[in-house]
């Protein structure tokens, strides 16, 4: 992420969370946090507990973020935020928390005769991680039509050009789902697992070979030793942990979508 991208990210994030942008310059900005946001990112639970117990006047923090220190000419004091900085990571996590579940309707212009029909979909974004002594991550976006059970890949990208709002327009009506959302979720989970099973797992084989090689070296060292010391077991355990291959599936976010546009 370049400084400009970070700047617009912060701007968007605080704006969407109703925090007032007090000052907005090219390379820095000052933000007035709301009480909710202060509680979320300022890490001062005792202050808030104290305030609530004493009925004090809440004074949520005002923060200045410098997004491009190199271009900064003004004499400004503030937190430097860059890709990799703890603050940005924290805001990434907050974004994940605050944007995990949605319920959206495609907007419909005025219809002269019949109302437009909206089809319900479940959309879920999955992050799949492969771990051994190395890591690789993949992002899958799956969607399921809750009427037909039709499954599509790359769902998130298909939503990009649609006009979605959290409430339904008056010129539309939504079909009731035939497949229950939770049932659909199970089927999407299954689809991801099938996907993983069909993938090439030579990475795990390779890790196993590395593990075997190191294991042989270790056995060689203790060859002929009758009472193997405790550190032998320790080493063995360390090797197991180092090379053990495993896969994690994590849901980034997902939601229900009522769409007029056909997706196939």
């Amino acid at each position: 992420m370049y400084p400009q991208q970070i700047h617009s990210y912060l701007h968007k994030f605080f704006n969407e969370n109703n925090c007032q942008i007090v000052k907005n310059h090219d390379h820095y900005m000052t933000v007035q946090l709301t009480i909710e946001m202060d509680k979320k990112i300022m890490n001062r639970p005792y202050y808030w507990k104290y305030l609530e117990n004493t009925n004090g006047v809440p004074n949520p923090a005002q923060l200045t973020f410098i997004t491009d220190q190199n271009k900064l000419v003004e004499n400004i004091k503030g937190e430097v935020v860059h890709f990799g900085s703890p603050r940005l990571n924290q805001l990434f996590r907050a974004t994940k928390d605050l944007g995990a579940f949605v319920h959206m309707y495609e907007q419909v212009d005025h219809q002269p005769q019949n109302k437009a029909i909206l089809t319900p979909w479940l959309g879920v974004n999955y992050k799949v991680s492969y771990y051994s002594d190395q890591t690789k991550e993949m992002l899958y976006s799956l969607g399921m039509n809750l009427i037909t059970g039709h499954l599509v890949d790359g769902f998130q990208e298909r939503l990009n050009n649609l006009n979605l709002e959290s409430s339904m327009s008056e010129y539309a009506f939504d079909l009731t789902a035939i497949i229950k959302p939770l049932r659909a979720l199970e089927r999407l989970d299954l689809a991801i697992e099938n996907n993983i099973n069909a993938d090439n797992h030579s990475w795990a084989e390779d890790a196993k070979k590395r593990w075997q090689k190191d294991r042989e070296v270790l056995e060689h060292f203790y060859e002929g030793v009758e009472d193997k010391p405790e550190c032998y077991e320790m080493e063995k355990r360390a090797l197991d942990e180092q090379y053990e291959s495993r896969i994690t599936i994590e849901i980034v976010n997902g939601g229900l979508f009522y769409l007029k546009t056909l997706i196939n």
Binding site: Y9, K12, E16, H82, F83, G84, P86, F92, T95, K96, L98, G99, A100, F101, V102, H103, N125, Y131, D133, Q134, T135, K136, E137, M138, L139, S141, Q156, L164, E165, S166, P181, L182, L185, D189, E193, I196, H201, R210, D214, V217, L218, H220, F221, Y222, E223, E230, C231, M234, A238, E241, Q242, Y243, S245, R246, I247, I249, I251, V252, N253, G254
Partner: protein, 510 residues
Amino acid sequence: MLIEKSSTWKEGFIERLEEREPWDNWTLYNMSYDVVKTNLITDFTGLQSPKYLPNLTPLRHQLEVAETVIERMNGKAILADEVGLGKTIEAGLILKEYLIRGLVKKALILAPASLINQWIDELNNKFYIPAIPYKKNYNLDNYSVVVMSMDTAKKSPHKEVIYAQDYDMIIIDEAHKLKNHKTKNYEFVQSLKKKFCLLLTATPIQNDVFELFYLISLLKPGHLGSYETFQSSFSANKLTWEHDDYLKELVNQVMVRNRRQDTGIEWTQRRVQTIPIQFTKEEKEVYEMIEGLKNVSSVFSSAFSMITLQKEMCSSKEATYLTLNKMRQECVDSEEIDYVETLIQKLMALEVNTKAEKAYELISKANDKVIIFTEYRASQAYLQWYLGSKGITSVLFNGKFKKSKRDWMKQLFKEQAQVLIATESGGEGINLQFCHHVINYDLPWNPMKLEQRIGRVHRLGQEHDVHIYNLAIEGTIEDHILDLLHAKIDVFEKAVGNLDDILSTLKESM
């Protein structure tokens, strides 16, 4: 294959379906997806960490080390770059990479006490790794990256506390301190679980090849075979060699070492001179009387005390006097006492210290900042007095100084004094690139100590050629020390690789 899934999202989803919780904001939903996409680690190989570290510009050789260690050595390695090439940066890059990739959650860094603050500072400010220095009452459960001294770590109750933690990565700085497998340090590290492990040392061999064997056996037991097979292959004589190519290859599988010249950076030259010095007639007489001591009294019969006195006499009468005076107390019969008394008289009557004069001559000729390393506190004090009498300002330095005092002394040296006089233990952890002259007033037994000394000055950021003067008095024990230094350098070069000049010019002249 083990697949781990979490049901957290599903539970939250049910809450929304049943209208107990509100739905989220669409813009934040999209932002969240984009963040994950941006941060996705799409390949098993390659480094992610540099893009998270905009304020750090790692050098090419540092990035290569990080990649090699992770991809070829599977995260277990000895980082053995020459002094001053940034081993801490390399370790930081590797740790950061594993943290980003989620393979390391908890890490322990063991460093000499004097370097703890430097580690904390670099990890936090250069790598944004929230490392903390260990304090006695800390509960280690709460801290993911901890830096502590080996001396603390190996003792109870800290030792037990550490064993109870599940560290994914162990980093040990100045790992040559583990060369002796009979020490508590070694035993402690041996019993630590080492999933990913980095041992940092510029000097993996200080005296003999078995030190390397023990270091590697700590990291990867069996890599060089068992002790018996290793010993039989590499002969009983620790200083000779038969299978050096084979050994070097094995070593290179677990050790990365960059030399200054491999880094692609323009390094300034090292100009090493060994300066032979002749004692005056009076000094020589005293030196010979010292050698005669062992025939006169049993108090002086041990080789160790003999060597100490000989070395001290090559340094200063002040250093010699302290030891000699202490040993005189142990003499009983009058013949012994007479001999020692006469010796002390002659010693104290000496008016000239030829070596100090030579040092003064070199300092005047350099007409620039100079560091003098001596092995003795008494010589250190004497040199300050002597140089002062010649109008040369100096500051003293030793490793026992607290960090604030060290910084202060460094500042004084930089801004006011011409000479810094340091004892051996002052060697680690100070960087003095503004200085270009090093006088090794006394020679240590170990060439790596010389390398450490030179490394204070000849490191990244040095803009001038560096002059190194090794002073050695002819016809004394210092001849023997020089021979031994050469032999040890030879062992190092055969097992590990070439060394930058420490003594070489003398080698050619010999």
